[in-house]
């Protein structure tokens, strides 16, 4: 189970982060100020820290300076969007930097990327009889290899990492294709249809009108 530490002083944002993290089943702990965050990070075993920059007593930059950022990946959450702040945060060893406000799913996607980069995410994903090996870049259904294009593979992985979460076309575009461009949502539709067809997911990978797609949890019924 992935353990995530939330360091944030606004109680409503804390609740929002907890709710978002619970969607994909991450466990979360909370620190309301920088000092207790340093203690918690040094004593506990967290897979990732979500760190607010503007904190009472000790700001996020000071917190990351006191901990060994190589031990635990840190994603900064901040209202400040100056490039200099971003550079400073990343130089101090943060893995990523998110500017408030942000969508819950974007946060989850960034967390996923960071966890995979530091090898804390699982490299094998399972869904019903489908097994995806991220290291080998292979997809097997009932032990038989299924041939997917790289983009189709990424789309499938993104759905499997976000079970039961509705993913908008924009989110898919920015996560898989790496850019946000409203006019290209046809590309997403074609790839989702290909994944659906090749892996026989017509009943599971459902279309949600006016929103996007969702891969339903296997044991949902």
């Amino acid at each position: 189970m992935i353990q995530i530490l939330i360091v944030e002083d606004d109680s409503n944002i804390v609740r929002m982060l907890e709710a978002a993290l619970s969607i994909v089943g991450y466990q979360s702990s909370v620190c309301l100020d920088g000092r207790s965050a340093v203690e918690a990070i040094q004593s506990g075993h967290f897979d990732l820290v979500l760190l607010d920059v503007m904190l009472p007593e000790m700001d996020g930059f000071q917190v990351i300076g006191q901990i060994d950022a190589a031990d635990v990946p840190v994603i900064f959450l901040t209202a400040r969007q100056e490039v200099s702040d971003k550079v400073r945060g990343l130089k101090l060893g943060a893995e990523d930097y998110m500017v408030k406000p942000f969508e819950a799913v974007e946060l989850l996607a960034r967390i996923e990327v960071v966890l995979r980069r530091v090898n804390r995410g699982s490299s094998v994903l399972r869904y019903e009889n489908i097994v995806v090996n991220l290291d080998e870049h292979t997809v097997r259904q009932a032990e038989a290899l299924v041939a997917l294009t790289p983009k189709e593979f990424d789309v499938l992985v993104f759905f499997m990492q976000n079970l039961d979460v509705a993913l908008t076309r924009e989110r898919l575009l920015s996560h898989v294709w790496g850019y946000e461009f409203a006019g290209e949502s046809r590309t997403v539709d074609i790839h989702v249809q290909q994944v659906r067809r090749k892996l026989h997911l017509q009943a599971k990978l459902i279309t949600i009108p006016k929103l996007g797609y969702r891969l339903e949890r296997a044991d949902a019924q």
Partner: protein, 477 residues
């Protein structure tokens, strides 16, 4: 043309003109005097000659024992005399238009005509004749011998006078050139020395113009330059102060915007996050749904409060105040009435003491000020507590006091309480819907009324806020 060049040229030309003119006049004058002396000498010499001629004739008459001498004898005597005199300079005697005798003189028509022009008069004629580089002074006069009129013409060489004049002019030109060189050197040195402070001032001005407003003028030269430096220093200090003020204002604005962005983004983060969770999650439980939507509503209200306070603050800055005489108690009652539900819901008692006093205020804005103070008092009060709201004299001025017995503030918090977005207790303040702008607004309104806000507070004991108006407190108004 530079200033030093202008001064140099003007002074130089003036000095040289005066020097040269003086030299020319002096030389001319001394020449004239010399010429006059020559003339006087020539006249007196001629008179001497004529007198001795006359004496000679008298002597001759006596020797020969005759009353009158004949023409021939006279002429002989004249010729004899001229020879005897052996004059250095030429002389000639004419009688009846013809030369009787001459010595050392080349006679020509011009000289004869000059002498003849005298005619029968007793006057003496003098003329300087130029011939090549020689100057000759001709002197003519008449005298009578034995009833016969004779013309006497002498000449003298005066070339040396003219040569003297020429050499004097040459000397004057030489002196003038030497003088001009000396004057130029002295002038240039003087100008360099005198204008040096100007260059120093100019260099400092240049430094200041480049933005080094810490530079100061340290001129110790003549008093004009000292006065200039002092004035320039005053100007620089004024500029520096203005720039500092502008920089402070820009810094304050930057801080305000950064804080505003933070205050807006914090609720937005919760709203967007929860809305997204609600949107993407397949199934959301009833209690979760209620919790999430509650947060969204709460945070949206926070944004609403922020935007309305922000609008008030902006319109406050641009609105024209409408000052009118009003009863302060009426205004206080208006503010209290608006907040009645808030006080009632928290079980706080608002004790509004009816003391009437009239003052000139913008009623709407002043009510808003009191409203904000009362709202803060309610937030700081414990449930069941009470807030006193009254009018009184404060150092002779009319003042309104809001006094609570709530949580109070530390001196540090009191110091910062009027800063925009400053919140003594962030989480508490946010829960009660504060945006951190209320007291900043109060401060603006008070400043527009020339009023001052005094705060005394003790943690755990409560806070008293006094708004002291500009107007005097007069009993019975």
């Amino acid at each position: 043309m530079k200033l030093w060049q202008k001064i140099f040229l003007c002074t130089f030309l003036l000095v040289m003109a005066v020097v040269d003119l003086t030299a020319v006049l002096l030389v001319g004058n001394s020449h004239k005097l010399l010429v006059q002396r020559e003339k006087d000498y020539a006249v007196s010499q001629q008179e001497n000659l004529i007198n001795s001629l006359k004496n000679e004739l008298v002597f001759k008459r006596w020797r020969e024992g005759r009353d009158l001498l004949g023409d021939v004898q006279i002429k002989e005597a004249v010729v004899q005399l001229l020879e005897d005199w052996s004059l250095e300079e030429g002389a000639a005697v004419f009688h009846a238009g013809a030369a009787v005798a001459s010595a050392n003189m080349k006679l020509n028509e011009d000289k004869k005509a000059f002498a003849d022009a005298l005619g029968e008069s007793d006057a003496i004629r003098l003329q300087i004749v130029e011939q090549g580089d020689q100057y000759t002074l001709l002197t003519a006069s008449t005298f009578v011998l034995e009833n016969e009129r004779f013309l006497f013409l002498t000449e003298g060489n005066v070339t040396r006078i003219y040569e003297l004049r020429r050499s004097q002019f040459r000397f004057a030109i030489g002196m003038s050139i030497a003088c001009s060189a000396a004057v130029s050197i002295v002038l240039l040195l003087m100008l360099h020395f005198l204008l040096k402070p100007l260059n120093r001032v100019n260099r400092t001005v240049d430094l200041i113009a480049r933005g080094n407003y810490e530079e100061r003028f340290t001129e110790s030269g003549s008093c004009e330059f000292q006065a200039l430096s002092e004035n320039l220093n005053r100007m620089t200090i004024a500029i520096q102060l203005n720039i500092d003020k502008l920089e402070d204002a820009a810094e304050a604005r930057k801080m305000f915007i950064a804080n505003l962005a933070h205050e807006m983004k914090t609720p937005l983060t919760s709203i967007l996050g929860f809305a997204d969770v609600l949107r993407v999650k397949k199934s959301v439980g009833e209690s979760e749904r209620r919790e999430y939507t509650n947060v969204i509503v709460e945070e949206t209200k926070r944004l609403r409060a922020l935007s309305s306070k922000l609008m008030e603050l902006i319109t406050m800055g641009s609105s024209v105040l409408d000052f009118q005489a009003a009863d302060l108690f009426e205004v206080m009652r208006g503010a209290a009435k608006t907040l009645e539900p808030v006080y009632a819901s928290r079980g706080i008692q608002l004790r509004c003491v009816p003391v009437h006093h009239r003052a000139h205020i913008d009623r709407e804005l002043f009510e808003s000020l009191l409203y904000n103070l009362l709202e803060n008092a309610a937030k700081a009060s414990h449930p069941g507590g009470s807030v006193a709201f009254f009018c009184r004299a404060y150092e002779g001025r009319a003042a309104i006091v809001v006094e609570d017995q709530g949580i109070g503030m530390t001196p540090e918090e009191v110091k910062n309480m009027f800063e925009p977005f400053y919140m003594a207790d962030k989480s508490r303040s946010r829960k009660s819907g504060g945006a951190g702008l209320g007291l900043a607004l109060c401060q603006e309104i008070a400043a527009a009324h020339n009023a001052q806000i005094f705060v005394s507070s003790r943690p755990g004991e409560g806070t008293a806020v006094t708004v002291a108006l500009e107007e005097r407190w007069e009993t019975g108004r």
